[in-house]
Amino acid sequence: MSKIPNELKYTASHEWLREDDGTVTIGITDNAQSLLGDLVFVDLPEVGAQLTAGGDAGVVESVKAASDIYSPVTGEVVEVNEALNDSPEQINRDPYGEGWLFRLKLSDNTELDKLLDAKAYTAQVEEGESH
């Protein structure tokens, strides 16, 4: 069973979101990294880019597949995890810590209420496994 920390919010497309002071940090879940396998390439958004909720934010690529990353919320990119360009394996090793992808300045706080909580995301993952 993959790790799904209680304090985070989630999307159906397997991104996680952590609320910090005024910004939000976004990454892909433990379940997502384990499905993708060893990551070999990450394409991150540019600092200053405007992302929309559900819109393309980047790409992660493993030996098995390339997968789009979607922004869970609307906002401006204020920081990206440059270290991933050289060592994308950080996402496999520590998806909720060193493997974070980018930080956003939120445009609309109410969008957070539309995201899944840990319980709802767990249910979705379990349903996927029973397929």
Binding site: L35, D38, V40, V63, K64, E129, H131
Partner: protein
Amino acid sequence: MLIFEKSHPGRCATAQAPANSPEPKDIPTNLLRQSALGLPEVSELEVVRHYTRLSQKNFSIDTQFYPLGSCTMKYNPRSAHKIANLPGFANRHPYALPAQSQGYLQCAFELQTILAEVTGMHAVSLTPMAGAQGEFAGVRMIKAYHDARGDTARTEMLVPDAAHGTNPASAVMCGYQVRELPTGPDGDIDLDALKAAVGPQTAGIMLTNPSTLGVFERNIKTVAEIIHQAGGLLYYDGANLNAILGKVRPGDMGFDVIHLNLHKTFATPHGGGGPGAGPVATAERLTPYLPMPRVLHEEATGYRFQTESDCPESIGQLSAFMGNAGVILRAYAYVRLLGKEGMHRVAEFATLNANYLMVKLKEAGFTLAYPTRRATHEFIVTFAPQEKKFKVNAMDVAKRLLDADFHAPTTYFPLLIPECLLIEPTETESKQILDTFAEAMVMILQEAANAPEKLRDAPQTLPRQRLDEVRAARELDLRWQPTAT
């Protein structure tokens, strides 16, 4: 071992060395090379042995069963190669006058006619050089059609999530935004999601039917109605035509434009060796936009290539002449060998082989991705339960199959199904081969439980064992360089 590593100073294939070649004059000294050329120094016999041995290490359709799903690795009849290599074809210059090319032009014209007939379309252009270029041509024609009507607000192309990755790429190349459609639990398109997605912005939909999930899209008529009512067009990706050849026609399903992979369905050489061929075919309203040239026939003058004045609305020329002539001729020979009587047997035996193998593997304990559905020409096994229980995955199964002397099926595609193997036996395999393959699969299933290290350490019998794919992707290094001396 690289041929460079076999090099011995001073050794030479004398028979191949240029004799009496004059020294080139007037080359400025600063442009002359100062160091040695760095070519391998080997004898002629060493060269012959080196490359013969390399060729013997290949897995290929000529040596092994090759059930690579979605690729239709069927046998390429030798007679088709022989016909394409007849001197009158092989030595024909592409600029030869039509009067001197009537034989070749007639073959190409008849292939156009036969492909149109077997797909239920109005006209065919043989120009695209491969499947992806066929897709590009098809989507460009959709755009040309909407643009010609002043219908320019259509910005979206619908693509199911099970599609080949080339579909969304082709749509983007033509300036469309891609809208992904989800698949329902039984492998058909989610019709509610489709209804919600269509609108005045819909340019069309790109579908593979049977889909990459190895099932026939049962609601295709409804899908076509929904798209057409919204003013969009239907694009058919011919990747899986082998399953329905001579039985069901894309044109009758309501498709407006299609591409065909001659290197899949029509038995021309395939893969890295290619070259490919991706002819496109259209319903009547899209025919003016077909890429040029097509071959035309007129009673008085015979066969000739179209010129621009014949097709002013064409999306243009996609290759220097008209596709790959040798591939077109092989496909022509193949369809003539089959004839109208034989064409439908391709689909019948391709689907019979797939269903036979699917049931055999299911009875042996494999998990099918769509157990309630009949297979088309291919089917999906998921190794997810074994991955969970025994910690061996689909890639381990694929590698272990190499030890059993079988080419591995497609792995990890389509992306929707975890730990999947997409298995396509094709119609050219015998029951005995299918049985032997099934036995190897059953052996691997037992090993997964009893001796999982045999899977994890596979392949053991090949010249190279498990490759480090992660390192190969992260530290790509394809260039040999001499060690400093």
